[in-house]
């Protein structure tokens, strides 16, 4: 369990949050720039000192302003990944990686060099100098360097924001591996909903220094009462298990939890039974009153309308749906809503293009 209570103000900005976050998995701090997400992270690392604050990570208290307790950053077991990799330019890649490693007692080391370099695919770069690496390689080394301190909490401040989309896609699989293979809780700051949807288990929505919402990713992304649903990349996360793979058409069948429903997704081969997380954008979900068999759209799910509301665009509405326990969002035109007379409780068919599912 991570408990963070912070109050801090400087000219034109005030941060006031009280967060109880899960002590495992990836928690995203999501919000626009200036919402206070980086400041939160810096306070947790001890790089900034909140005027009033209480920070507890599992069984360790790092700040308690009432007791005048403030543990300096070098005594906190955090790993910090900055937006720019910030490698030491006077040291080789190996020396950068060893910088943190050799400063922690051997008994506390839980991540070794071989494991970290293998996890991030940087074994071939150890003799190089940071100046001669690509942005993506630098960032992977930054992440490995932080991991090698065997942190009790890994803080990542928009680690992909400074990279172009090609480099982002190069790093994302490594981040997913960290999530799957390491038992280190991660706080991940991001303003990209797609990144959050791919990596996070839990999301905190920050706006103007306050937390608007904090909850599991699936439920929270599907909430219509939050500004999350208004974004162009709004959508839901569906987690399921691979039940079949059609190698001929390269289509994967994903079994949704607690139901016999499944969706098909264009995806690289995966082993049956493996877990997979997909993001389904609200704009890629359409609605019909009957199941339309003769259509190029592969996925047709029977759903119930939960609620609907106007979108940021006056011509659009957002509809919250339930597919046997799995929440879905659909962005449709106001015209279609009136044509189909969409109302809460109505039974409909949701159609999801198999190419639109982001896996």
């Amino acid at each position: 369990m991570i408990h963070t209570r912070l109050k801090l103000r400087y000219s034109g900005f005030a941060l006031d949050v009280d967060l109880q976050l899960p002590g495992r998995g990836v928690t995203a701090l999501y919000g626009h720039s200036g919402s206070g997400k980086t400041t939160c992270l810096r306070c947790i690392a001890g790089l900034e000192k909140a005027d009033q604050g209480f920070i507890q990570v599992n069984d360790e208290v790092w700040q308690d302003s009432e007791k005048h307790l403030f543990v300096p950053p070098h005594k906190r077991a955090v790993g910090y990944v900055f937006q720019e990799a910030s490698l030491f330019p006077h040291l080789s890649v190996l020396a950068n990686l060893e910088f943190g490693l050799k400063r922690i007692p051997k008994a506390h080391r839980r991540v070794d060099m071989a494991h970290a370099t293998e996890l991030l695919g940087i074994g071939h770069l150890l003799d190089r100098h940071p100046q001669h690496l690509s942005g993506g390689e630098r960032q992977r080394i930054g992440i490995a360097r932080a991991l090698l301190t065997s942190p009790k909490l890994l803080l990542m401040d928009e680690p992909l924001a400074a990279l172009d989309s090609q480099r982002k896609n190069e790093i994302l699989p490594y981040l997913q591996r960290l999530h799957d293979e390491l038992d280190i809780p991660v706080l991940y700051v991001s303003h990209s909903q797609d990144e959050v949807a791919r990596l996070a288990d839990h999301i905190v929505l920050l706006s103007n220094g306050k937390a608007l919402a904090s909850g599991p990713i699936g439920e929270t992304l599907a909430r219509l009462d939050l500004p999350l649903a208004m974004g162009d990349d709004a959508g839901v996360v569906i987690e399921g298990h691979v039940s079949a793979y059609d190698a001929d058409y390269q289509l994967l069948t994903l079994q949704l939890p607690n139901t016999d429903m499944s969706i098909r997704v264009a995806h690289a081969p995966m082993v049956q039974g493996q877990a997979l997380r997909c993001k389904v954008h609200a704009r890629d979900v359409s609605l019909s009153l009957q199941s339309v068999e003769q259509s190029s759209i592969l996925n047709r799910l029977p759903v119930t309308v939960i609620s609907e509301m106007g979108a940021d665009n006056a011509a659009h509405v957002l509809v919250r749906l339930d597919a046997a326990g799995t929440p879905l969002l659909a962005r449709i035109t106001r015209f279609s809503r009136d044509q189909l007379a969409i109302h809460p409780g109505q039974q409909l068919w949701a159609q999801i293009k198999a190419v639109a599912v982001l896996a």
């Binding site: 070098h74 900055f82 910088f99 100046q131």
Partner: protein, 226 residues
Amino acid sequence: MMLSSADFAAIWLTLKLASLTTVILLVIGTPIALWLSRTSSWLRGPVGAIVALPLVLPPTVIGFYLLLALGPHGFIGQFTQSLGLGTLTFSFAGLVIGSVLYSMPFVVQPLQNAFSAIGTRPLEVAATLRANPWDTFFSVILPLARPGFITASILGFAHTVGEFGVVLMIGGNIPDKTRVVSVQIYDHVEAMEYAQAHWLAGAMLVFSFAVLLALYSSRKTKTGWS
């Protein structure tokens, strides 16, 4: 031989003075420069101005005040006398004190620039990698500021070698104790020994040019923070 033994004594004394001054300045100038580059205290302005004073003041002014302070009635003089050391005026130790003050900006300012250029990010990175502040100073700040230290050492040394006014005011002209090269040249000229003055002055010119050439040529490449 073109240089007399008195000339060699002056050269030796000058090198000794400049080396000692440079070492002392690196030791006391580093914390001052570090503080100036990091602090947001109101004292930053006044301290920075005091350090820079020798850049604009005539050496005679510094020499004059030092003469008063180090002399038998000055506060430093009283202090050294109470320690049984006598007064430091017209002594090598007095010259060192004068040189340290006089060359201070030439050491502090390049260091301050180097520390400012490093910024706070590497220090934050080091802290999150469990390095305490001392460790960070030696393992991150020192290597990253190395060009600044080289510049500071060269300028501090060369500027002390080129000192004249302060030496004359507080040290006078005592062979082997306070007679440095610049004073020796002055003596030669006073005595109309132009040939001797030529050799020493020429040596100074070549030395200073070589030092500055080395300094400015080495600034071609700069490794960036990545």
